[in-house]
């Protein structure tokens, strides 16, 4: 098989694609393949990594035109088509580069963020959006001596959203983020919703108000790419839908949104 990798260096200005022929071994991930290239063929290849076990969120990239974690994506599942995924279209996932998906794996940087070098993108915009959601626990009462109690069912509901690893795969899969840099994106909204539904916080709408704008809840067009690509099963599109319904119900939808 051939790993076709996006290459970019500031001093060379124009990006290019390099093809590396590799022997596939059973269980080889895209991250493993990138390490093999770095170790055997070209030690200048730049990509981020940390846990290699799909828990740290470092290695999201565009693999065969789908945002995925490189460590979790098996080469064999790409070649045999079993991990193929349909996504609502946006410019970066159009077939701009010729490649044969049955023999080649195409690896490119995560879309919608500036490329610094090769597969390394600048995450500043993604984390800036996260920060505007004021992601910090604000309990409704003063702390008791012991833990605050919680219903196990409330915890299960929260876990859907606390599982987010902020890898930005959803951000790179969102057709709205493709068009609008101001849109905070699915991960930031899912994070905000996690705090909104935390029963230890106030039950009012103060959390929802933080993103009650066109660049927040109302920017979403429900393509649901975010929920499809999430490696941890987080459903940002459900959070956004629920938040909008809640705002609608209480008549707090800002004017001119739909």
């Amino acid at each position: 098989m051939i790993l076709k990798v996006f290459r970019y260096m500031k001093e060379k200005k124009e990006p290019r694609y390099d093809s590396f022929p590799l022997d596939t071994e059973p269980g080889m991930s895209v991250l493993g393949a990138l390490f093999e290239i770095q170790e055997k063929y070209d030690d200048s290849l730049a990509f981020r990594y940390s846990c290699r076990g799909a828990v740290c969120g470092t290695c999201a990239m565009l693999i065969d035109k789908v945002p995925r974690l490189a460590c979790r994506t098996q080469i064999s599942s790409l070649l045999d088509g079993s991990s193929a995924m349909y996504l609502a279209p946006y410019p970066e996932i159009e077939r701009s580069v010729p490649y044969d998906p049955s023999t080649e794996v195409l690896v490119e940087p995560l879309p919608h963020l500036p490329v610094i070098r090769d597969l390394v993108v600048d995450m500043t915009r993604f984390f800036a959006a996260y920060r505007t959601m004021q992601p910090v626990f604000k309990p409704k009462d003063t702390a008791p001596d012991h833990e605050r109690t919680m219903e196990p069912s409330a915890v299960h509901n929260l876990e859907k959203y606390t599982s987010c690893i902020l890898c930005a795969a959803c951000y790179g899969a969102c057709p709205v983020n493709a068009r609008e840099q101001e849109y905070v994106g699915p991960a930031a909204l899912a994070k905000l919703y996690r705090f909104h539904i935390d029963p230890r916080e106030s039950e009012d709408s103060s959390r929802l108000e933080i993103a009650n704008t066109r660049s927040g809840w109302w920017g979403c067009e429900f393509h649901t790419n975010c929920t499809r690509v999430c490696p941890k099963g987080v459903p940002p599109s459900i959070a956004i839908g629920n938040a909008r319904e809640e705002l609608n119900r209480s008549g707090r939808e800002p004017s001119g949104m739909e």
């Binding site: 200048s44 076990g53 828990v55 833990e147 605050r148 915890v155 876990e159 690893i165």
Partner: protein, 573 residues
């Protein structure tokens, strides 16, 4: 680049590492109104703490049916688990503080799993007399790390992400900060602070089979050693019994805490033979050795693994309490634990040893502190109990922050600190320039892989003199080979080849410290199992190993263990 004032950053406190220990300390120091910065080679959320699965121990006693738990019982289990090598004053401190530490995390927003009455759920763990391990499904580290990161951001703590620290800077007999390479552009920066805290995690990646993140290369320990600080008990390396066969990704002990059992190829629950009482929930050193022996005796599966069977737990319980490892088994081994047993084998997991610190988190070098897995205080002794590492991060992160805040009222930077840090930058720049100018010789990946294989083959689960002497010889030759090896890419932006070469230099040093400590310790204790000395020898080795650089040579000596309420006894499970 010529060192100039623009690349010098001055803070009250510098924390190297942005995992749980570093974040907990930063939070405390920021709350005290001190200017604190975190310097980390990765974004804090990418730290290895995120991978901790099973939980955090505290004698909350929420599971009333299990009887009355106490910090004292927690301390006893920890000391016995450590094979009596832990310092009992530090263990007592940690176990006393544990309930408040966990409740504090809950108050900061961590979403712990709950029992029916709404209190934090607690599960049984290896070597523990009570269900004492508080958890957030099997993503406890991830949940706590996110909570602490949120709090640290809220306090506007400055974080230098993707800055690779190359050396600790000293002047006037104290640590004055560090130099760090900005990974994104290759510029060297100087950081000046009257207090520097190492929270860099473990060095598991000196081993070929490891559950650790790829970033766990132990820079904190190797830098501390070069700055003249001792490393303690480095030969005690924990092998986790259950890593996923193939990738060695962790499969939490919580899987056995919830009722999972280990089976050999004959379908035998072999732990009944090795630990008749605790069985699959014996401490990690005991279970790892048992699996290793089963495989060695031909009762493992081809390739060298055994089965972890969770099928009898049922889909509902697995989905609720072990969703993360279920996903890991599906993604990385193509096995759904609901339907099939999980193939597991032991792999390096934790560094019990580390930078020698006293109970306050201070090293012997004024201005330098350490906590968490990078340090050795020692609460884990010869073998750590599951659920105690997350606890150590928050308890000693907090304690060490308190020490630093107190010391800041009397400590300051020496007058010539500025020129000292500029000298340090120039020195590091020359070193990097010389390294980049080197061509030919072996490649770094070859050396790195050789080191990892050497450590696994010669300093693994079972050790003996001949094997280890041969291994030490290989390490010493690797040290020579490193000085002739080179990298091809000479650029400065995101030069991971350079970063990994700098990591390797420190890894070789740590490997030698592990090797010399292991050779000198002629006994079997906790994780250090010697076939040539199969018994514990309290007469000669109820002592901490301290290794120090003296004239560029590693010298091993011993220090007494603090024994308090728990007399040294046998260790049956």
């Amino acid at each position: 680049m010529v060192a100039d004032q623009q690349s010098i950053h001055i803070f009250d406190v510098l924390i190297i590492g942005g995992g749980l220990t570093g974040l907990r300390a930063a939070l405390e120091i920021a709350a005290a109104g001190r200017a604190v910065a975190i310097v980390s080679k990765v974004h804090p959320l990418r730290s290895h703490s995120v991978a901790a699965q099973g939980g955090i121990n505290a004698s909350l006693g929420n599971n009333a049916a299990a009887g009355q738990d106490s910090w004292n019982a927690h301390a006893f289990d920890t000391v016995k688990g450590s094979d009596y090598l832990a310092d009992q004053d530090a263990v007592e401190l940690m176990c006393r503080m544990a309930p408040n530490a966990v409740i504090e995390l809950e108050h900061l927003g961590t979403v712990f799993s709950r029992q029916a009455d709404g209190k934090i759920a607690q599960r049984p763990f290896g070597g523990a007399g009570f269900p004492r391990t508080c958890y957030a499904a099997d993503r406890t580290g991830h949940n706590i790390l996110n909570t602490l990161y949120e709090q640290v951001l809220h306090r506007n703590v400055r974080v230098f992400e993707e800055y690779f620290v190359t050396t600790l800077a000293t002047g006037g007999g104290r640590c004055i900060g560090c130099t760090a390479l900005n990974v994104s552009d290759g510029d060297l920066h100087g950081f000046l602070a009257p207090a520097t805290m190492l929270a860099t995690g473990g060095f598991g990646r000196i081993y070929s089979r490891s559950t650790n993140a790829l970033i766990n290369t132990g820079e904190g320990a190797s830098m501390a050693m070069r700055a003249g600080v001792a490393l303690k008990d480095m030969e005690f390396v924990q092998f986790h019994p259950t890593s996923l066969f193939g990738t060695n990704i962790l499969i939490t002990e919580g899987a056995r805490g919830e009722g999972g059992i280990l089976l050999n190829r004959n379908g035998e629950r072999f732990m009944e033979r090795y630990a008749p009482v605790s069985k699959d929930l014996a401490p990690r050193d005991v279970v790892a050795r048992a699996i290793h022996q089963e495989i060695g005796a031909g009762r493992g599966f081809d390739g060298g693994y055994v089965h972890l069977d969770l099928r009898h737990l049922g889909e509902e319980l697995i989905a609720e309490r072990l969703p993360g490892i279920r996903q890991i088994a599906i993604d990385f081994a193509g096995v759904d634990p609901v339907n099939e047993p999980v193939p597991v084998q032991p792999a390096q997991h934790y560094s019990m040893g580390g930078i020698a610190v006293d109970i306050t988190g201070a090293t012997t070098l004024p201005g330098l502190y350490a906590a968490g897995e990078s340090a050795c205080v020692s609460v884990h002794g010869a073998n750590r109990l599951g659920g105690n590492s997350l606890l150590e991060t928050v308890v000693f992160g907090l304690m060490t922050a308190g020490t630093i805040i107190r010391d800041l009222s009397v400590a300051g930077l020496p007058k010539d600190a500025n020129s000292s840090i500029l000298d340090a930058i120039r020195h590091e720049q020359t070193k990097i320039d010389d390294f980049l100018a080197r061509d030919g010789g072996e490649g770094m990946p070859e050396l790195r892989n050789a080191l990892k294989e050497t450590m696994y083959d010669h300093f693994g689960i079972f050790r003996n003199e001949g094997l280890m002497k041969e291994g030490l010889g290989k390490i010493l030759r690797l040290k020579e080979r490193f000085h002739k090896a080179s990298i091809e890419y000479k650029g400065l932006e995101f030069n991971f080849a350079l970063q990994r070469a700098l990591e390797l230099e420190g890894m070789i040093t740590l490997a030698e410290v592990v090797a010399r400590g292991a050779l000198a310790r002629k006994e079997t204790r906790g994780s250090h199992a010697r076939t040539d000395y199969p018994s514990r020898d309290d007469v000669h080795f109820l002592a901490h190993t301290v290794a120090q650089l003296v004239n560029e040579k590693i010298v091993v000596a011993y220090e007494p263990v603090k024994i308090m309420t728990f007399p040294v006894k046998g260790r049956e499970y």
